[in-house]
Symmetry: C2
Subunit: 347 residues, 2 copies
């Protein structure tokens, strides 16, 4: 079920500790707990252990069957609800599983934290607790999108609603570093999302950002404006945009993907021929649907902070959560944070 | 091939004259000419005739086989290239097929014009020649999107990159009128596109627009913010957004749809079982793919002008162009312009 994920095991096996907010997400704590199970059964030899934050009594029961050497439960009295207003959630965050998981990263007890809970609260708490990395003005959320030929990196996914040209330039640097780690490309290509490839289209700050990128170390990797229909062609490795637009792209893709899945299911059961046909081409179509499943692209990262905080999609299933764990492990192994700060200093 | 289109023939058969820019679009003049042929063969009894603007010599040859009573060719020396800068294209628009087609609407020779050419130039020329309708500040581009259960209306699709709350309110009125005509709903529901359903999310002008809509005649039809993954669920009839975001939504959907089509084709030919299966469920899957084909949703309208100017997608095929013709005919029959101005005056 995790076939589409590139997982890199090329670094020496240092022990990696992941903090899990077990109470965040639509089906918590089942999804985080089962995500850990999927991860451990898929990569039993990975040198990873978990600190699991949440209701001890519930978790002790749910975690039965997992090797006790691979996890520790840390009891938390409270949790942040997914529909809570972020500013209020932050003020009332003491003793919550989300806050405790992020604090474990800031105190260096853990190398990364993962939560499927309230995005706004997670972003605010991650910023408050981990602080923005040196020379970075605004952190961003980075995620992977499927393409015809593989994957690309899209940022910002929703951390910054209003941006400046300088923010977009920094996102380009962060996206480059993220793509170097997750796509394994030494010199990933970078494009600015815009509604036309012509110079005069779109917002003024996009035009300014293009000039800034052309004047940076990215000049040879920059392919200019990329139109939204090109996101999925695989023509570019890193797509840079503001958080409002990035969020629109990923959420509308999710909605369209779901609609197509429903319509295809209906088509496959519309006649006896279609039913037999569907059985015959079942596996290959299933693989294709899987490739488009948002669970395979789970694990948006808050990039640009002094520590790794991963947002798992609130509606992700156990495989999606396991993918978020893998993203966290890859990022820690490859020391992406150090690389990003280096890039920014290069510019 | 036009099965998914609702075409309304309930009004008395007044003669409708459509101006066609035969030189605009990727495969002009073949697509416009063949679009006319498809339209006439699908609806032979519709009381519609065409004024076709472009190179007379070429068009005379291409139009062979179409009933001479149904069209007239008007020779134009020039055409606007699709990659021309709109401001320059407007300055050099004299004698072009695009300008002549719009002028035919302004002079009342025709009831509507259709062009698949340069969107920016078409928008600028439509505004300059047709002028904005009474009490409307900014025209918008309106289009239809597929949903799980039918269709919805999305605007603005790209006419207004930066908007105010007042603009969004006017778009809501225009969208309502458009939905009344094309979706045949007396009281269509209206939603504001935003990245969260919570009150504090997204740009400030979106929050202001929500207040304005709640204070207008739309208050009972307004369902608040709609997240992008809900575009395709059919939960709302009219989705209001700025032109930058609307363009991102439609173009990224186009890109994702194309990718899924390619991946499914690959899946269907990946093994002998899949090939046989694909043959068995061929028709029903084909119908589903057709439902998602952008050609079925072709014909974005510049709404809020003193006259009907329709933008056909530059990459549309003959069926797509025929759909744009049908949109134009429906809009003219139902006097949508008058209805929109009435709505604005109601508020």
């Amino acid at each position: 079920m995790l076939e589409n994920i590139n997982f890199y095991c090329i670094m020496p096996a240092k022990l990696i500790k992941i903090a899990i907010d077990a109470m965040g997400g639509d089906d918590a704590p089942d999804v985080p707990v089962n995500g850990i199970k999927v991860f451990l059964s898929t990569f039993p030899s990975e040198n990873v252990i978990f600190k699991v934050y949440g209701d001890e009594q519930i978790l002790r029961r749910k975690m039965l069957g997992i090797d006790r050497a691979r996890y520790e439960i840390i009891h938390c009295e409270n949790k942040i609800e997914s529909d809570e207003k972020p500013s209020l959630a932050v003020r009332q965050s003491k003793g919550t599983s989300m806050r405790a998981a992020i604090e474990a990263v800031s105190s260096k007890e853990c190398d990364a934290s993962i939560s499927g809970g309230n995005t706004g609260a997670l972003m605010a708490l991650s910023k408050i607790i981990l602080k923005t990395a040196k020379d970075i003005d605004r952190p961003a959320i980075c995620a992977m999108m499927p393409t015809k030929s593989g994957k690309c990196v899209l940022l910002d996914m929703g951390a910054n609603i209003d941006v400046t040209a300088q923010n977009l330039l920094e996102f380009a640097f962060m996206g480059e570093a993220f793509a170097q780690v997750v796509l394994k490309k030494r010199k990933p290509t970078v494009g600015l999302l815009n509604i036309g490839s012509e110079e005069m289209k779109g917002h003024a700050y996009i035009h300014e950002a293009a000039e800034k990128i052309r004047a940076s170390h990215l000049k040879d990797q920059f392919i200019g404006y990329i139109e939204p229909d090109k996101i999925y062609t695989g023509e570019v490795d890193v797509i840079v945009t503001d958080g409002f637009t990035g969020n629109i792209v990923i959420k509308s893709a999710e909605g369209l993907g779901k609609m197509i899945k429903i319509l295809l299911k209906r088509a496959f059961s519309s006649s006896i021929f279609a039913v037999v046909g569907a059985i015959l081409c079942g596996m290959s179509v299933k693989r294709t649907m899987k490739k488009m499943d948002p669970n395979n692209y789970n694990g948006g990262m808050f990039i640009g902070l002094n520590g790794v905080s991963i947002k798992s999609h609130g509606g992700a299933d156990k495989y999606g959560f396991a993918n978020a764990i893998m993203t966290a492990v890859s990022i820690v192994k490859e020391e992406m944070h150090r690389k990003i700060v280096e890039k920014i200093n290069l510019s």
